[in-house]
Amino acid sequence: MAIPELAKGFRMVLRHVFRRKETVAYPEVRRQPFPRFKGRHVLDRHPDGLEKCIGCELCAGVCPADAIYVVGAANTPEHRFSPGERYAQIYQINYLRCIFCGLCVEACPTEALLMSTEYEISGDSRASLIYTKDQLIVDAPIRRHWPTRKELPPDFNITGGGLSFTEVERPPVPIPLPTEGVSGPFEGGWSGERDTASAFSDRGPRRED
C-alpha cells in the first residue's frame, strides 16, 4: 500500500511548519524591492537643474496602455525649462492604466523618464491616481547605482545596491513649474478617470493628429 508515500507527504507538510514564513506582515514589515523593480515613474533633471524631458511624446506614443499624456511647448529665453527647444508643458501618467511595462523608459531619448522602486500606489479617487508633472519630477538630479546604457559585468551585484537610485545630496535648484499657459491638472483628455459620469467610457486619450 501507499503507506511510505503517505508518510512522506505528511512529513513534508509538517516540516513546513518549522520553515521560515514566505509572507510578511505587510504594513508593519515591508520587503525591499529589487533595484530594477519597475515602480512608479520619476522625471529626472540635469545637474544644472534643467529638466531632461524635452516633451517629445515618445513615451506617450509607445505606451501600450495609453497611460501617458504629454503636451509639449517651446522654451523661450525668459522661461527655459529644458536644454532643447521644447519642454513638457503638461506631463501626466495615469496609474489606473499604467501596466508598469517600462517601455516608456526605454523609449525616452534623454533618459528623463525613469522608474523608481516605489510600489505603494493607491488612492481614494480616480483623479488622485493621475500623477501630474509636479508629482513626477524630482527636485534634484538622481544618481544611478550603475552606469546606464552599458552592459553589466556578469558578476555585478544587482541586489546589493538597495534602491535603484537616490537623489544627490546637494540642495535642489529652485525652478518654478510652468503655470501660465497651462490649463488645469486634468486637462489631459482622460476619458474615464476625470469624473464619475464617464467613468466606464472606453474612449482613450488619443488625440486626432
Binding site: 500500500m1 501507499a2 503507506i3 507527504g9 505528511f10 513534508m12 507538510v13 509538517l14 513546513h16 511548519v17 520553515r19 521560515r20 514564513k21 514566505e22 509572507t23 510578511v24 506582515a25
Partner: protein, 411 residues
Amino acid sequence: MTWAFVVIAIAKTIAAFVLLLGVTILLVWFERKVIADMQARIGPNRWGPFGLLQTLADGIKLFFKEGLRPRPADPWTFAIAPVAAMVPSLLAFAVVPFGHEVTIAGHRIFWTLTDLNIGILYFLAMGSLGVYGIVLAGWASGSKYPLLGGVRSSAQMISYEIALGLSIVPVIIASGSLSTVSIVAQQGGSIANVNAFNGIPVLETIAHWFRFLPNWYIWSQWPAFILFMIAGVAETNRAPFDLPEAESELIAGYHTEYSGIRFALFFLGEYVHMVVISAIGVTLWFGGWHGPVFWHGWGDWLWPFVWFMVKVTIFLYTFVWLRATLPRLRYDRLMWLGWKRLLPAALTWIVVTAVVNTPDIPRYYRFGVFGILFLMVIAWIGRGDPRLREAVVPQRHLGPRPITTSRGLDS
C-alpha cells in the same frame, strides 16, 4: 434536592454548549493558523493577538450580511436546512464525558451532559441526522450545483456512516458497554493492569515493561481507530473527503446558494462536527479525560478536563494536517474506499475482536486466531487496488535527457 438537580442540569447544558461553541470558534482560527504554518504563510494576524478575534470578526460580518434566497428555492426547507445541519452536531456532544467529576455543595457532578446507557448509538444517530440538513439544503436551493453536492453528500455520508459504526463496534465488544462514561472509566490505570495477560509469563513481562503506558484502547484497537479516523473525516465532509462542497467542482456544493447567517450555521455545524468526532475518538480510544499513568493528582477536578482538551486539540491538529496534505479523492475512489476497503476491514476486525473477547474459548486459541486474522487484515488492506497496479506502465530506461542520436530524438 430536585431543584438542585434541575439547576445542575441546566448549568451543565449551558457549560457544555458554551464550551463546544467556544472550542469551535477557536478551532476556525486554529485551522487557519495551522494551515498557514503548513503552507509557510503567516495566516490571520489583524484582529486581536495572533489574529485570535478573526473568527469573531467573520462571525459579525456574516451576521450582518444579507441572507439571499434564490427564487426557485423552497422557502421553508431552505430556512430549516442550516438548522437541521447544525443541531445534530451540537446534540451529539451530550454524551461526551469531558472531565471526571466535581463536588459542589455536597453534589457530585459528573462532567458529562448525560450518561446515556446507549451513548454510542446516540452519537451515531445524531451523525446520521446531520445528513438531512445537507441533503435538504441541496434540494431546497433549487439550483444544480447544490443538488449535486447534496446527492454526493448523502451517498458519501451514508456509505461512511456504516464504516464509522462498524469501526466503533470492536471497542464496544472489548469494553462490553455502550455508555461513553463507562468506556472511559475502563481505560484508567496502566497497561500492566490488563488481566488478559495474567498467567502468560512473556506477555506479563512485556506488559510490565510498558507499565508507563496508560490502558487505553488504542493499543489493542488501533485498526479500528484508523478506520474510525478515515470514516470520521468523511463524515465531517472535510478534505480529502470534501466532495460534497468541492470548490473547484461544485463551487461550494450544498451551500452554494447560502449566505449570511444561514451559511454561518453550515460552517459552524461542520466545525462542531469536527470537534465532536475528535471528542468521540478521544473517548473511545485515547482514554477520555485520563491523564498519563504517573499523574497522581492534585486538583483532580480540573486536570481531567485539561487532558481531554489537550487530546482533542491533537485530534483537531490531525484534521488540519490531513487537509493540508491530501488532495481530494475522485468520487469512484471514495466509494471504492468506503465499500470495498473500510467495510470489509471493519467487519474482519469485528470478528477478530469478538473471538479474542470470548471467554469460553481457551486463551491460546484466542491469541492464535488473533494473530492469524491480524496478519490477514494487514495483508488484505495492504493489497492495494489491483486496477492501480495494472495502470502502472513499466518505464523503459532511456538514459539521460534530452536524448539525441544521429537520427534525431530517440523515440
